[in-house]
Amino acid sequence: MSKVILKDNDHKLFNTDKMFYKEFPSDFRQIRYFTLLIVQKAPPEIKELNLLEQQISELIKNAVKHGNKSNPEKKIKVWYFFSQDETRLVVEDEGAGFTKIDEWNEFNSKRQDCLENNDFERLADYVAYTTEESDYHDGGNAMFAALEFWNEGVVFTEKANCVAVGKTYPKKQKGITIGE
Protein backbone atom coordinates (compact mmCIF):
# COMPACT_ATOMS: atom_id res chain seq x y z
CA MET A 1 0.00 0.00 0.00
CA SER A 2 1.34 3.45 -0.82
CA LYS A 3 2.07 6.00 1.89
CA VAL A 4 -0.71 8.33 2.93
CA ILE A 5 -1.09 11.58 4.82
CA LEU A 6 -2.70 10.73 8.16
CA LYS A 7 -5.28 12.55 10.28
CA ASP A 8 -4.82 11.75 13.97
CA ASN A 9 -4.90 14.20 16.89
CA ASP A 10 -3.29 11.63 19.16
CA HIS A 11 -0.37 10.68 16.95
CA LYS A 12 2.96 10.53 18.80
CA LEU A 13 4.47 13.09 16.39
CA PHE A 14 2.25 15.74 18.04
CA ASN A 15 4.07 15.30 21.36
CA THR A 16 5.95 18.60 21.65
CA ASP A 17 7.67 17.89 25.00
CA LYS A 18 11.26 19.10 25.01
CA MET A 19 10.95 20.58 21.54
CA PHE A 20 12.12 24.08 20.70
CA TYR A 21 9.44 26.60 19.85
CA LYS A 22 9.23 29.69 17.68
CA GLU A 23 6.38 31.70 16.21
CA PHE A 24 6.44 33.87 13.13
CA PRO A 25 4.14 36.35 11.39
CA SER A 26 2.77 35.09 8.07
CA ASP A 27 5.16 37.13 5.96
CA PHE A 28 5.62 35.37 2.64
CA ARG A 29 8.87 37.23 1.91
CA GLN A 30 10.52 35.80 5.00
CA ILE A 31 9.68 32.10 4.64
CA ARG A 32 13.23 31.02 3.84
CA TYR A 33 14.63 33.25 6.58
CA PHE A 34 12.28 31.70 9.16
CA THR A 35 13.34 28.28 7.93
CA LEU A 36 17.01 29.13 8.44
CA LEU A 37 16.29 30.26 12.00
CA ILE A 38 14.93 26.78 12.68
CA VAL A 39 17.48 24.76 10.72
CA GLN A 40 20.38 26.45 12.50
CA LYS A 41 19.56 24.18 15.45
CA ALA A 42 20.30 21.09 13.38
CA PRO A 43 23.56 19.33 14.31
CA PRO A 44 26.28 19.61 11.65
CA GLU A 45 26.43 15.81 11.43
CA ILE A 46 23.09 15.76 9.59
CA LYS A 47 23.86 15.15 5.97
CA GLU A 48 22.01 16.93 3.21
CA LEU A 49 21.17 19.97 5.29
CA ASN A 50 20.10 21.72 2.09
CA LEU A 51 17.44 19.10 1.55
CA LEU A 52 16.26 19.31 5.16
CA GLU A 53 16.01 23.08 4.81
CA GLN A 54 13.97 22.71 1.65
CA GLN A 55 11.56 20.22 3.20
CA ILE A 56 11.02 22.41 6.28
CA SER A 57 10.57 25.46 4.08
CA GLU A 58 7.72 23.73 2.22
CA LEU A 59 5.78 23.15 5.46
CA ILE A 60 6.32 26.74 6.55
CA LYS A 61 5.26 27.98 3.14
CA ASN A 62 2.09 25.89 3.25
CA ALA A 63 1.22 27.33 6.68
CA VAL A 64 1.99 30.94 5.71
CA LYS A 65 0.53 30.92 2.22
CA HIS A 66 -2.21 28.30 2.10
CA GLY A 67 -3.11 28.30 5.82
CA ASN A 68 -2.87 31.94 6.81
CA LYS A 69 -3.19 33.38 3.28
CA SER A 70 -0.03 35.44 3.95
CA ASN A 71 -1.94 37.58 6.45
CA PRO A 72 0.80 39.06 8.67
CA GLU A 73 -1.74 39.43 11.51
CA LYS A 74 -1.88 35.65 11.68
CA LYS A 75 0.91 33.67 13.27
CA ILE A 76 2.43 30.34 12.55
CA LYS A 77 3.76 28.27 15.42
CA VAL A 78 6.67 25.89 14.94
CA TRP A 79 7.94 23.23 17.33
CA TYR A 80 11.16 21.50 16.32
CA PHE A 81 13.66 18.95 17.50
CA PHE A 82 16.92 17.86 15.93
CA SER A 83 19.38 15.17 16.89
CA GLN A 84 21.84 13.07 14.93
CA ASP A 85 19.23 10.31 14.73
CA GLU A 86 16.02 12.22 14.31
CA THR A 87 14.26 15.37 13.12
CA ARG A 88 10.75 16.24 14.23
CA LEU A 89 8.66 19.27 13.40
CA VAL A 90 5.15 20.51 14.17
CA VAL A 91 3.78 23.50 12.25
CA GLU A 92 0.46 25.12 13.15
CA ASP A 93 -1.34 27.96 11.40
CA GLU A 94 -4.55 29.88 12.04
CA GLY A 95 -6.24 28.92 8.79
CA ALA A 96 -9.23 26.76 7.93
CA GLY A 97 -7.09 23.63 7.58
CA PHE A 98 -6.05 21.35 4.73
CA THR A 99 -9.55 19.98 4.25
CA LYS A 100 -8.77 17.99 1.12
CA ILE A 101 -6.54 15.32 2.66
CA ASP A 102 -8.70 12.41 1.49
CA GLU A 103 -8.84 13.83 -2.02
CA TRP A 104 -5.08 14.38 -1.97
CA ASN A 105 -4.43 10.79 -0.83
CA GLU A 106 -6.60 9.46 -3.60
CA PHE A 107 -4.80 11.65 -6.14
CA ASN A 108 -1.43 10.47 -4.84
CA SER A 109 -2.49 6.84 -5.01
CA LYS A 110 -3.34 7.26 -8.72
CA ARG A 111 -0.01 9.00 -9.19
CA GLN A 112 1.77 6.07 -7.56
CA ASP A 113 -0.06 3.66 -9.89
CA CYS A 114 1.25 5.58 -12.91
CA LEU A 115 4.78 5.52 -11.49
CA GLU A 116 4.67 1.79 -10.75
CA ASN A 117 3.42 1.05 -14.27
CA ASN A 118 5.82 3.53 -15.91
CA ASP A 119 2.75 5.11 -17.47
CA PHE A 120 4.29 8.53 -18.08
CA GLU A 121 1.54 9.61 -20.43
CA ARG A 122 -1.10 9.23 -17.73
CA LEU A 123 1.33 10.54 -15.11
CA ALA A 124 1.12 13.91 -16.86
CA ASP A 125 -2.33 14.29 -15.24
CA TYR A 126 -0.94 13.56 -11.79
CA VAL A 127 2.38 15.45 -11.61
CA ALA A 128 0.87 18.36 -9.70
CA TYR A 129 -2.00 18.56 -7.24
CA THR A 130 -3.73 21.87 -7.74
CA THR A 131 -6.98 23.35 -6.48
CA GLU A 132 -8.98 26.43 -7.39
CA GLU A 133 -6.77 28.31 -4.90
CA SER A 134 -3.46 27.38 -6.58
CA ASP A 135 -1.59 30.13 -8.40
CA TYR A 136 1.19 30.47 -10.98
CA HIS A 137 3.86 29.94 -8.30
CA ASP A 138 2.49 26.77 -6.71
CA GLY A 139 4.34 23.64 -7.75
CA GLY A 140 1.63 21.33 -6.40
CA ASN A 141 4.23 18.66 -5.66
CA ALA A 142 5.59 19.53 -2.21
CA MET A 143 3.62 16.94 -0.26
CA PHE A 144 4.57 14.08 -2.62
CA ALA A 145 8.21 14.68 -1.70
CA ALA A 146 7.29 15.28 1.96
CA LEU A 147 5.75 11.80 2.27
CA GLU A 148 8.97 10.29 0.94
CA PHE A 149 11.31 12.46 2.98
CA TRP A 150 9.55 12.31 6.38
CA ASN A 151 9.90 8.59 6.90
CA GLU A 152 8.20 8.65 10.33
CA GLY A 153 5.08 10.11 8.81
CA VAL A 154 3.14 13.21 7.81
CA VAL A 155 0.17 13.68 10.13
CA PHE A 156 -2.47 16.39 10.39
CA THR A 157 -4.83 17.14 13.26
CA GLU A 158 -8.53 16.56 12.58
CA LYS A 159 -8.92 20.32 12.08
CA ALA A 160 -6.01 19.99 9.64
CA ASN A 161 -4.40 23.37 10.42
CA CYS A 162 -1.51 21.66 12.20
CA VAL A 163 0.93 19.19 10.68
CA ALA A 164 3.54 17.01 12.36
CA VAL A 165 6.38 15.26 10.56
CA GLY A 166 9.30 13.11 11.58
CA LYS A 167 12.41 11.67 10.02
CA THR A 168 14.86 9.19 11.47
CA TYR A 169 18.33 8.69 10.11
CA PRO A 170 19.97 5.28 9.89
CA LYS A 171 22.22 4.67 12.87
CA LYS A 172 25.92 4.69 12.18
CA GLN A 173 28.03 1.70 13.09
CA LYS A 174 29.71 2.98 16.24
CA GLY A 175 32.18 0.18 16.95
CA ILE A 176 33.83 -2.84 15.44
CA THR A 177 33.81 -6.41 16.59
CA ILE A 178 37.31 -7.84 16.90
CA GLY A 179 36.58 -11.37 17.91
CA GLU A 180 34.36 -13.05 20.49
Binding site: R29, R32, E48, N50, D138, G139, A145
Partner: protein, 108 residues
Protein backbone atom coordinates in the same frame (compact mmCIF):
# COMPACT_ATOMS: atom_id res chain seq x y z
CA UNK B 1 15.92 32.53 -34.72
CA UNK B 2 16.24 29.73 -37.23
CA UNK B 3 14.05 26.68 -36.74
CA UNK B 4 17.01 24.44 -36.09
CA UNK B 5 18.57 26.54 -33.38
CA UNK B 6 18.84 25.12 -29.92
CA UNK B 7 18.13 27.47 -27.05
CA UNK B 8 20.28 26.70 -24.01
CA UNK B 9 19.21 28.22 -20.70
CA UNK B 10 21.92 28.28 -18.04
CA UNK B 11 20.09 28.67 -14.76
CA UNK B 12 22.10 30.23 -11.95
CA UNK B 13 21.27 30.42 -8.26
CA UNK B 14 18.26 29.10 -6.41
CA UNK B 15 15.05 27.90 -7.99
CA UNK B 16 12.80 28.70 -5.06
CA UNK B 17 9.39 30.11 -4.26
CA UNK B 18 10.60 33.62 -5.10
CA UNK B 19 12.44 33.00 -8.38
CA UNK B 20 11.10 29.99 -10.23
CA UNK B 21 8.46 31.87 -12.23
CA UNK B 22 11.27 33.60 -14.14
CA UNK B 23 12.23 30.39 -15.91
CA UNK B 24 8.62 29.72 -16.92
CA UNK B 25 8.28 33.30 -18.17
CA UNK B 26 11.48 32.98 -20.21
CA UNK B 27 10.38 29.75 -21.89
CA UNK B 28 6.95 31.20 -22.71
CA UNK B 29 8.71 34.22 -24.25
CA UNK B 30 10.96 32.00 -26.35
CA UNK B 31 7.97 29.97 -27.53
CA UNK B 32 6.55 33.19 -28.95
CA UNK B 33 9.82 33.52 -30.85
CA UNK B 34 9.28 30.05 -32.31
CA UNK B 35 12.12 28.31 -30.51
CA UNK B 36 11.45 24.58 -30.64
CA UNK B 37 14.52 23.00 -29.03
CA UNK B 38 15.41 23.75 -25.45
CA UNK B 39 18.15 22.69 -23.07
CA UNK B 40 17.88 23.76 -19.45
CA UNK B 41 21.27 23.53 -17.75
CA UNK B 42 20.95 23.21 -13.98
CA UNK B 43 24.66 22.83 -13.28
CA UNK B 44 24.78 26.05 -11.25
CA UNK B 45 21.60 25.46 -9.28
CA UNK B 46 22.29 24.51 -5.66
CA UNK B 47 18.75 24.65 -4.34
CA UNK B 48 15.32 23.80 -5.70
CA UNK B 49 11.95 23.64 -4.00
CA UNK B 50 8.46 22.60 -5.04
CA UNK B 51 7.98 25.84 -7.00
CA UNK B 52 11.17 25.08 -8.95
CA UNK B 53 10.09 21.50 -9.58
CA UNK B 54 6.69 22.91 -10.57
CA UNK B 55 8.37 25.21 -13.09
CA UNK B 56 10.23 22.24 -14.65
CA UNK B 57 6.99 20.21 -14.80
CA UNK B 58 5.14 23.14 -16.36
CA UNK B 59 7.82 23.65 -19.00
CA UNK B 60 8.09 19.94 -19.72
CA UNK B 61 4.31 19.50 -20.05
CA UNK B 62 3.88 22.65 -22.15
CA UNK B 63 6.61 21.63 -24.61
CA UNK B 64 5.40 18.02 -24.77
CA UNK B 65 1.89 19.16 -25.71
CA UNK B 66 3.32 21.12 -28.64
CA UNK B 67 5.68 18.33 -29.64
CA UNK B 68 8.73 20.50 -28.97
CA UNK B 69 12.04 19.24 -27.69
CA UNK B 70 13.47 19.67 -24.23
CA UNK B 71 16.33 18.27 -22.20
CA UNK B 72 17.22 19.15 -18.62
CA UNK B 73 20.92 18.68 -17.92
CA UNK B 74 23.32 18.47 -15.01
CA UNK B 75 21.00 17.86 -12.09
CA UNK B 76 23.10 17.19 -9.01
CA UNK B 77 23.28 17.48 -5.23
CA UNK B 78 20.08 18.43 -3.48
CA UNK B 79 18.40 19.29 -6.81
CA UNK B 80 18.78 15.66 -7.81
CA UNK B 81 17.53 14.51 -4.39
CA UNK B 82 14.39 16.62 -4.59
CA UNK B 83 13.60 15.35 -8.10
CA UNK B 84 14.14 11.79 -6.84
CA UNK B 85 11.86 12.37 -3.84
CA UNK B 86 9.18 13.62 -6.21
CA UNK B 87 9.84 10.50 -8.33
CA UNK B 88 10.02 12.46 -11.54
CA UNK B 89 13.32 11.13 -12.85
CA UNK B 90 11.42 9.09 -15.44
CA UNK B 91 9.03 11.89 -16.38
CA UNK B 92 11.47 14.74 -16.87
CA UNK B 93 13.79 14.43 -19.92
CA UNK B 94 17.09 14.39 -18.05
CA UNK B 95 20.60 14.14 -19.47
CA UNK B 96 23.92 14.05 -17.65
CA UNK B 97 25.49 16.92 -19.57
CA UNK B 98 24.60 19.67 -22.01
CA UNK B 99 26.81 17.92 -24.57
CA UNK B 100 24.66 14.78 -24.35
CA UNK B 101 21.54 16.88 -24.82
CA UNK B 102 23.09 18.57 -27.86
CA UNK B 103 23.91 15.17 -29.36
CA UNK B 104 20.35 13.99 -28.82
CA UNK B 105 18.90 17.13 -30.37
CA UNK B 106 21.28 17.12 -33.34
CA UNK B 107 19.28 14.59 -35.29
CA UNK B 108 15.81 15.71 -34.29
Amino acid sequence: MKSNDIYIIDVNGEMDLYNSYKLKDLVIKMLDKKVNKFIINLNNVEYIDSSGIGALIFICSTLKKSNLNLYISNIRGSVKKVIELTKLTGYLPLTGTVQEALELLKNV
